[in-house]
């Protein structure tokens, strides 16, 4: 058996946070299987084909059968054998004003699919087969991005980075997966490396996950050349798992914000995504994902193997429910999570964590320019300058000083002594900028259309004018002829 190469990263983030990670909270319990009686799947806005036409109420759908396909080619399989209860519109997780279309299912057979619904792939699939399989099996970034995996593989790639950093406190989905499914992760690495002919693979782990490291080491497959593959251990620090930061920590390479890592031949995948990919190779599409339910307000935090579409309520009650009092439930971790307003909605592929914490009201005080935010900013922005510009209606200045480079990681919020909602302000600013760009494009289009119309009207009136002139001339000559004829008659 080959030995796995383990490297200590010589780099550490300038900035970032080092706080108590709270991960033990949910890792003290073993992984539990969720068996929900109902499922609620939110349909993406843009669908290649809609289930509305294919399914009618009362129809039974087998587990693993395709439900719908998005425009990006991602096919979602039915998580469990179930009957269609209703298809309609309803509130989303975040409670955004535009309703989304929902597919409600009543589960018939609560067990996960036992038979592969797709044909298992041979040992070393080629790139095309692998891309097709990932799309058919619905493999998207399960770390939280939700970006379709097969689209990343369209680029010429040379390096695979497995993002096992899981730097945000309380999050344990990646760690639990690495502990329990290390062989599957390596399987996916082997398949990816051969199919995409990658030169190297770096699996990055934070140093607060010794169990995961041991599991990965033990499962290291002999087929992988230790020259090309290594595990890089980095210092536990938030947000070392952000894509560009991770690449820098692993390879010492800074990716310009105007380009994406795949354009540089580097693809980053989350271990949970890789485990799901390994299942897909054996013919099992993505039907379940691992969800951490944690936070100070959860009675018994833990990790749950959860069918997609499981109502959030159900998951929370499975974790012992919320403690008495006012609590917020966040989709994601304590720093990057956003509040869930509709807990009846179903779990998504990107739901890595549900974090519940008591509602705290903190009154913000004015910024005293202490610079604590700049100290922790992983991209070295000056959040206090961004904040001052945005709160005084100077979007252009905020963009000038790097608003669009903000990771929205929330580190500045944590350290701000004035309790300012910096990240929220930046998110709003970024959104405002996008709307402004859209407005500008509309204005430009309106201008061209207006000018084109004016040109057309001008041309038409000119054409009318010439036609009239021609007619006048012709009629003039006709008159002359008549006059001449009359004159002849009289003579």
């Amino acid at each position: 058996m080959a030995e796995c190469r383990i490297i200590q990263s010589p780099r550490r983030l300038a900035g970032g946070l080092q706080r108590a990670d709270g991960k033990a909270l949910s890792l003290s319990q073993p992984l539990m299987q969720m068996n929900p009686p109902v499922l609620q799947l939110a349909l993406p806005d843009t669908l290649e084909d809609t289930p509305l036409e294919r399914w009618s109420i009362g129809d039974q759908i087998e587990a693993g059968q395709p439900l719908f396909t998005t425009q990006e080619g991602i096919t979602q399989a039915c998580p469990r054998t179930a009957t269609v209860e209703s298809v309609g519109t309803g509130k989303t997780l975040s409670g955004s004003p535009t309703p989304c279309r929902l597919l409600n299912l009543t589960v018939v057979d609560p067990d996960p699919p036992r038979q592969p619904s797709l044909t298992p792939l041979p040992a070393n699939p080629d790139g095309r087969t692998l891309r097709q399989r990932a799309a058919d099996a619905g493999i998207v970034g399960l770390g939280g991005g939700g970006f379709p995996a097969h689209l990343k593989w369209q680029h010429r790639l040379h390096t695979l980075i497995v993002n096992g950093a899981e730097c945000e406190p309380f999050l344990t989905a990646d760690e639990q997966t690495m502990r329990l499914r290390a062989p599957a992760i390596w399987d996916a690495v082997v398949a990816l490396m051969s199919a995409l002919s990658l030169q190297r693979c770096v699996l990055v782990l934070e140093d607060n996950k010794p169990e995961a490291l041991a599991a990965l080491q033990a499962a290291y497959p002999s087929v992988l050349d230790a020259q090309d593959v290594c595990i890089t251990v980095i210092q536990s620090q938030y947000p070392s798992g952000a894509e560009r930061q991770l690449i820098w920590l692993a390879l010492g390479l800074e990716i310009a914000t105007t380009t994406s890592p795949v354009e540089h031949g580097i693809v980053v995948h989350n271990p949970v995504t890789l485990a799901a990919l390994a299942d897909a190779l054996h013919g099992y599409p993505l039907t379940d994902r691992i969800v951490t339910v944690t936070g100070p307000s959860i009675v018994t935090p833990g990790t749950f193997q959860t069918p997609l579409g499981t109502p959030i309520d159900l998951l929370l009650s499975q974790a012992g429910g919320l403690r008495p009092g006012h609590h917020n439930v966040f989709h994601g971790g304590p720093y990057t999570g956003w509040p869930i307003s509709n807990t009846a909605a179903g779990v998504r592929a990107t739901t890595a964590c549900l974090y519940a914490a008591p509602v705290v009201s903190q009154t913000p005080s004015p910024c005293i320019r202490c610079g604590a935010c700049a100290e922790v900013c992983p991209v070295h922005l000056q959040p206090q300058q961004l904040f001052a510009a945005l709160t005084h209606d100077q979007l252009d200045e905020a963009l000038h000083v790097g608003l669009s480079q903000c990771l929205e990681c929330g580190a500045c919020d944590v350290v701000c002594p004035s309790n300012l909602s910096l990240t929220k302000t930046f998110q709003d600013g970024i959104q405002d900028h996008q709307l402004q760009q859209a407005e500008k494009q509309r204005a430009d289009r309106a201008r061209t259309r207006f000018e084109a119309r004016n040109q057309r009207l001008l041309k038409r009136s000119e054409a009318d004018e010439t036609r009239r002139a021609v007619r006048r001339e012709r009629s003039g000559s006709a008159l002359d002829r008549i006059r001449a004829a009359r004159a002849e008659e009289t003579h």
Binding site: P366, R369, C370, P378
Partner: protein, 340 residues
């Protein structure tokens, strides 16, 4: 409870309070050296400052209590009380507190908005408009306890036990006739202490202690204080090649407001530069200008003017010392409106 004091402060109030704590050793030493007048000044400056805060907030239709609670107003007053001459007439600290908060802070919209250091602004305004009260109210060290506080500016300097001169003043006036080693024979040097800047040196060293506390609590960074000391003492050391005609480096370091300013004035986050590199330049500039004013200027201790000048440089410094953003080839400079 001790760990609470040592952990980095988590709120604006805690930041201000840690500066209070850091000021305690220097204040106690000042009382020991200059007498109880320091405490009276502290109270009067605090009253003036709070009055201005209340009036300013009320005038804008805002609640005054919340602003007083964050502790920044009292901090400004405290800094002023330590900067003013200990035997200055009693109206001086009160007016200084009023000016600092009224003109320096409230006009700009309160905490966090003021572009210049309120304490230094009040100091500069007063030294220009009340030079006698501001320069002659110095007590011979250790005689403060036996000296009555003057109630008005009249007669300052004439009262027994008062002296119109600090060590820096002494050097400035005596250089016309004497060399530095000769000046060091002056009786003022033998009052007590290390013989560098009698009395004041103990105050300065206490402030060093407080500054160390602030640094350990990560309330301040090293850049601004070190920049200031390098600027001031570096120039002093350079010109010390002519020891007869220059103030000794150690006197520059321990006399006047050098250490006090290094840790409590140039480190003010609101009116100072924000990035570490910017703080370094800010401190360095303030140090150099302080040296120039001390050596060549008309005013006895140039810190107030130097800090004020550098405060006006801060927007520029902030714009040109941003760190390079991760993934960018160079740092962003200037502002949108200054891009040309």
């Amino acid at each position: 409870m001790l760990w609470r004091i040592w952990a980095p402060p988590q709120s604006t109030r805690a930041v201000m309070q840690s500066v209070w704590i850091a000021l305690i050793p220097g204040t106690l030493t000042s009382v020991w050296v200059f007498g109880p007048g320091v405490l009276v000044h502290l109270v009067l400056a605090g009253l003036g400052a709070c009055l201005a805060e209340v009036i300013g907030r009320r005038a804008r239709g805002l609640a005054a209590t919340q602003a007083l609670q964050d502790g920044s107003t009292l901090l400004t007053a405290w800094l002023l009380a330590l900067a003013l001459p200990p035997a200055a007439p009693l109206w001086l600290p009160f007016v200084a507190g009023l000016i600092a908060i009224g003109l320096g802070k409230q006009l700009y919209g309160g905490l966090g908005q003021n572009p210049v250091n309120p304490a230094m602004l009040a100091y500069a305004i007063l030294i220009v408009s009340a030079p006698v009260a501001m320069t002659t109210g110095w007590i011979v060290p250790f005689q403060g306890w036996s000296t009555p506080m003057p109630l008005t500016g009249i007669g300052v300097g004439a009262v027994d036990g008062l002296t119109g001169a600090t060590i820096l003043d002494l050097y400035r006036t005596e250089f016309r006739e004497l060399t530095a080693p000769e000046i060091a024979q002056h009786p003022l040097f033998s009052v007590g202490g290390l013989g560098i800047a009698p009395g004041v040196e103990w105050v300065a060293l206490s402030h060093l202690l407080g500054g160390g506390f602030l640094f350990a609590r990560r309330v301040i960074r090293w850049q601004a204080p070190v920049g200031f000391l390098v600027g001031l003492l570096g120039l002093a050391a350079f010109f010390a090649i002519d020891p007869d005609n220059t103030v000794p480096v150690l006197t520059h370091a321990l006399a006047g407001a050098t250490l006090f300013s290094a840790f409590f004035i140039v480190t003010d986050p609101v009116s100072g530069a924000t990035s570490p590199r910017g703080q370094w330049w800010f401190g360095l500039g303030a140090g150099v200008i302080t040296y120039l004013i001390r050596t060549y200027g008309l005013y006895p201790d140039g810190v107030a003017f130097a800090v004020l000048f550098m405060n006006f440089m801060v927007p520029l410094i902030d714009q040109y010392t941003r760190p390079r953003i991760h993934g960018e080839s160079r740092s962003i400079r200037g502002s949108v409106r200054g891009r040309s």
